[in-house]
């Protein structure tokens, strides 16, 4: 909570409108720099950009509280070897971050499971253009029927109903939201028994 307050203050840019004694253009705070000399050029660059809530050797605060907002170094300046994470580990995580979903180019694979079936299937949502196409495929894949979809009653009357888990972790009935919204928020599909699916609806 503290941090959001600080970032709000940053947005207001109170510093720019602050009334102070002193010549315009002189920013006293910026000249208070850590006295620790460092020999690496990148570090020196950061020193000039940073103004920090700092403690000198007497233990007292040199700058005002307001400076606490500017403790973080500028995002651009990066220090070699910091934080101390092995390049082996960094490379491995970067590889993963480069993959969206199942990593097969622009495919959007989602798992499809069915109540009672031991096997899971996977489909590429990007392959389909509309709900009818998707539902037909699912019906063929799992040898079941969904019946007619109505906004009010869902897939009432059929033994099975297609549902999906969205980005927020909620289970929704397939068809409740516009197709594009569905494709972008669907994490996985599950074919539930009609009775199970009754509890769902537009959440």
């Amino acid at each position: 909570m503290d941090n959001s307050l600080r970032s709000y203050e940053k947005e207001l840019n109170l510093e720019a409108t602050e009334l102070r004694l002193g010549l315009p253009g002189s920013d006293q705070k910026r000249s208070i720099v850590r006295t620790k000399k460092r020999s690496s050029p990148e570090a020196c660059e950061e020193l000039e950009c940073m103004s920090k809530g700092n403690v000198n050797s007497n233990g007292s605060d040199v700058t005002s509280d307001h400076d606490q907002d500017n403790v973080e170094p500028p995002k651009k300046a990066r220090v070699v070897g910091w934080p101390p994470i092995r390049s082996y580990r960094k490379n491995n995580l970067q590889q993963k971050k480069g993959q969206e979903g199942e990593g097969e180019g622009a495919g959007m694979y989602v798992k499809v499971s069915m109540a009672g079936a031991p096997y899971l299937r996977k489909i590429d949502l990007k392959f389909y253009k509309s709900y009818p196409e998707l539902l037909k495929t699912l019906e063929n894949m799992f040898k079941c029927t969904f019946g007619e979809y109505s906004e009010r009653e869902g897939y009432n009357g059929s033994e099975y109903a297609p549902t999906y888990e969205d980005k927020d972790g909620d289970w929704m009935l397939v068809g409740d939201v516009p197709w594009n919204m569905f494709v972008s928020s669907c994490k996985r599909l599950r074919i539930m028994k009609g009775s199970e699916a009754k509890g769902l609806g537009c959440l």
Partner: protein
Amino acid sequence: MEESSAKAEQVLENVLETVLHFLTSRRDRNAASLVCKSWYRAEALTRSDLFIGNCYAVSPRRATGRFPCLRSLNIKGKPRFADFDLMPPDWGAHFSPWAEALAQSYPSSLRSLHLKRMSLTDGDLTLLSHSLPLFQDLLLTSSEGFTTAGLAALASNCALLRVLDLVECLVHVHDDVVDWISSFPDTHEHTRLESLVFDCVDCPVNFDALERLVARSPSLRRLRLNRYVSMAQLHRLMHRAPHLTHLGTGSFSASELDPEPDYASAFAASKSLVCLSGFREIWPEHLPAIFPACANLVSLNFSYADINADQLKSVIRHCHKLQTFWVLDSVCDEGLQAVAETCKDLRELRVFPVNAREEIEGPVSEVGFEAISRGCRKLQSILFFCQRMTNAAVVAMSNNCPDLVVFRLCIIGRYRPDAETQEPMDEGFGAIVMNCKKLTRLAVSGLLTDRAFGYIGTYGKLIRTLSVAFAGDTDLGLKYVLEGCPNLQKLEIRDSPFGDGALRSGLHHFYNMRFLWMSSCKLTRQACQEVAQTLPHLVLEVINSEEHKADDIGILYMYRSLDRPRDDAPKVVTILH
């Protein structure tokens, strides 16, 4: 008269040698070797396991000359900060001179080799595979320079190969990848393989050959696959090797669209599994497959698995026996709280950041940290990366977890104070050294003044390894440590304002240390020269980049050595004398 006393001496020596055979601790052996010349000789003849903490502390010739009958050798090369790209890539720690010496001196005795942060070539591995017919165990950690060709040589030639463990190595896989798995002799005979760890060999493997290899390795207990092995393939391997104790799951994702086998039953059938790792490209929906194995798990490594709190909770609530747990901070404080609730036996925890940026809020904080301290009272070792921390939480851990031996806290934001009080983090780390009386390894971070180092010097009497970055105010900080910590062996400092006066205050102690690393501090060349002259058995390596003025010290890497300074240093390294 003379003859009988010579005989008596011989008997005594025989007795001594027999007794010394039972002495395994290297500290005890080192002490025994100092008693007198005959004890020195007897100890040298009977030492079978040799540990060399710094490959440049002693020459291969001296080591092989003193110890004629080695069965196992453990050598460490580069200092740890080399892992973070702080050293030039060709700095050294070349294994070749050692390979040649070993091939010559121990053809009928050497069985086991463990190398850490060394630079090996395919030629080295090939030489070993041809020269050491009894060779069984190779463990390479954080090493580099070799390729799949070297692995193929080992596989082909080492008939007795029992352990081939490659941990976090950089294996060059871009040109001419060799199908090394197929190089294991493909006969109907069983292999002796007990452990095969290759998760860092980042290229596809011949799965059929791998499956056949596993099928004919009845002693195989540890298998860690790389990310090119899919879940379906993992399933087949687990079926072939149901007695595995340690499993690295490879990618833990499926790439086929076909129906998938029942993974959970494979995990249920592997009743001996105690250690799980891998999950290199995890599809979290597969997680329930490991549930049947969780109750037996002693060690779980999720540190490559980007999973959230709920996903972690579903697994961790089964893991009552867990003692070692590595994880990404993507599980958030909530995930850590779940760990604290279930894993009452936890000894080692490592929390790595998914996103190592300094200015973000971060998913883990003092909240999760303190929860761990309250729930996991037996904690001995912690490595914790975070973007925010408080002294109160660190103090709490110092009180809740008195058994801590290793405490490594990395607050990613440099100079970051206590997130609540804005105070320096001195009191927190002070409490750790004060209350954790068994502490031998400490890494500090956040905003720290000389006061923190005062605490370390006063209370950190057992500390052997200390890691410091962006901390301290004056020379006093380093002085407190060098004067106060008699057991200090390894000291690595970067970007801290410690200078010549501080360096001089350690003169009485430097011969007792394995190394001192100081980079981007305030040392001058002159002071370093003085130290080199005062202590002739110290090697002072200075590594400067072009921007450094001649008098500045970019990196000082200093270590004791029994032999002359090395002659294999690259141009950027200057050795002072």
